[in-house]
Symmetry: C2
């Protein structure tokens, strides 16, 4: 059994804070600051340009990709790290469309993270040859999979409600209809067990700053199924994905397998924080994480509904159909969340009315859940949120 | 006058090292480790998700973009930071092509950094509608500008030889022929005075890990001329470039001006190092940098040619026609460079036979130039490079 009291000590969470926003930005791993400091002072400072070889910088995107791969059911050599999630969505979608050249339809849903939809429409605007992006409600996705679909592009866990798609079943149906799949694991990696190989997913992408705790704007990752790894054409064909980057040929030749999904020079300082954050996962069972996270979220739902009837559950009640977050709706959700944050219960808000609370057992236990509900009940039942200060919108909500 | 003894003290260069590879990776600014450490421990660790507002993370790509803008002749609000240089090349080229829709030819040269050419061919592969990438010798660029060219895409300073294009004259000729320009400033920003506004450049991109000293894989930047900033369509339309990212609309609407060239969540840890590195430039005159760098490079050329006649100068002899680096050819350049590095004179090598030495007066003075030449002369004149060890190729050359 995973010892979650031990994992909690590996995070530097300020005293008194109940941090329920790991679904947006994971907290600081204790080891990250030293690790980044060493990378800067010892590797960059002392090795200078030699760091690319002697400190292994150049091979990190693959090495760290393999560490993430173990958390998402991806074989060694099928995941690579770099860029941002939006860039990785672009790469995956562009390659997937070309692997299904006779079709012109992308299917997605309104529960996909908007940036994925924006990236798709930007790509289609460039291609300008009759492609269409069809966006249906999450519950209508399965029925909308037809033989006109080139690519099914979904986020597995809905960023607003936490609703969980059945990756395996939808991928199977997509394949039966002749479509490829692009799965966004932003709210899955580190939150729930993922089995990309078992589900026969074609492409997957994700970020590392949520449940993987690698810091604000940490690098993203991309997975390509082995069957496509050597044939997918990289749309963003940067030198790091070249077969021989340091030959400096004038012509592009895609590197072997997943290497071709690398683009530019890898972000070494940021990867040091990511590498430190991944150390925490070495002794953890994702099945234990899943069980504990469902139990915490169930407890939270039960207690909130009992004490704050004016909040409406927006997440599936069945824990198996949720990711690792719970959302409640309230017309004044924004101001309520500001009042909670002012009282050190930190969740976040998504327009128009959704309050999100993430439950990761790595640093949240029953005591934190009950403490959070006490504060929520106090804020709700005494209308402590109803002030001009809490209604004032910040740049980032 | 810029006091270059003072700037040298702002870098943590190991004792005894003569670092002539700032054209590949700038050395560590003394202030960077503390600055990044503070960002991690104080901002991420204590503010957690609130850092996006209270620590100003969300607006950093523009704020730091403006700091870089001052070094390259770009007005406030025309430069934004993020991603890698290859990604920024893709954005600039994709937008520029659409702004010149009736033409199908991109003109570049063999002195462009290969990744720029790779990115162009990847983009053209996606567009798949008759675009052509024409790559000529650097000295033939001017004559090749014709009324069939949609976009002239060049790196201002040749990464191998240091040869400097005349940005102003070539842009003028391109415009007269009805073409747009994309300038890569990888070897210009922080090395030589650049006047994007004065040259009427349309798009420009660059990296910050060379002469701007922001660390391995540090974020890149993009400039869009004000006349196109509100009309350029972003091909990589991520949520950070959306008009209202936190409205989470399903449809993309490009943000105002340069904001639309943002893509994904900004890399905050890496930007802390960049911000610290840019502090060094606050008291520096780029004209002083230019004069001092030419004087150092001229001294180096004179002394190397006098003492090592078997080396062939590959850079322009006229300092005004060079960037801030000097290259010499030798058939055994790779092994010679390894021997130099083993003796703490650090330059680098570019296939097939080019040894590069960068001269930035921020941390290099006459004493370092003469010390480097002593070592080069010893290695050459005593064939100290001629060992199996030095011939053994590393992953990164």
């Amino acid at each position: 059994m995973t010892d979650f009291t031990r994992t909690k000590s590996r995070f530097a969470i300020p005293d008194g804070v109940v941090y329920l926003d790991g679904n947006s930005l994971g907290p600081l791993p204790v080891a990250a600051a030293d690790r980044v400091g060493r990378m800067i002072s010892e590797e960059w400072g002392k090795h200078l340009i030699k760091g690319w070889n002697v400190a292994g910088w150049m091979t990190q995107p693959r090495r760290i990709g393999d560490r993430i791969g173990r958390l998402i059911g991806a074989a060694a050599g099928t995941v690579v790290v770099g860029d941002t999630l939006s860039i990785k969505v672009y790469q995956a979608l562009a390659s997937a469309l070309e692997l299904n050249p006779s079709r012109r339809m992308i299917l997605s849903d309104t529960g996909n993270f908007p940036s994925d939809l924006y990236i798709a429409s930007g790509l289609l605007g460039s291609l300008d040859r009759g492609y269409e992006l069809k966006v249906v409600a999450p519950e209508d996705v399965e029925a909308a999979i037809s033989e006109t679909i080139a690519v099914l592009m979904l986020t597995e866990v809905d960023y607003r409600t936490g609703r969980l798609h059945d990756m395996s079943a939808l991928t199977r149906k997509a394949h039966a209809a002749g479509a490829l799949t692009v799965w966004d694991l932003a709210h899955s990696a580190g939150a729930i067990p993922v089995d990309l190989a078992g589900a026969e997913a074609d492409f997957a992408v994700g970020c590392t700053y949520k449940y993987l705790n690698a810091g604000p704007g940490a690098p993203a990752f991309i997975y390509v199924a082995p069957k496509y790894a050597d044939t997918a054409r990289p749309a963003l064909s940067g030198w790091m994905g070249h077969h021989a980057p340091f030959a400096f040929d004038l012509d592009y030749r895609a590197g072997p397998g997943i290497e071709r999904m690398r683009v530019g020079t890898p972000p070494i300082i940021a990867m040091a924080a990511l590498d430190a954050a991944l150390d925490i996962w070495d002794d953890i069972s994702m099945t234990d994480v899943r069980h504990a996270s469902i139990a915490l979220a169930d407890l939270f739902i039960r207690e909130v509904e009992r004490r704050c009837p004016e909040l409406t559950l927006a997440s599936p009640r069945d824990g198996k159909r949720r990711g690792s977050q719970v959302s409640f709706r309230h017309p004044d959700g924004y101001a309520i969340m500001q009042a909670l944050i002012a009282r050190n219960v930190i969740g976040d808000f998504r327009a128009p009315d959704m309050m999100r609370f993430g439950f990761t057992p790595l640093y949240i236990g029953e005591a934190e859940v009950l403490a959070a509900v006490d504060v929520i009940a106090d804020v709700l039942n005494n209308r402590r949120w109803d002030t001009a200060d809490y209604r004032k919108k910040a740049l980032v909500t």
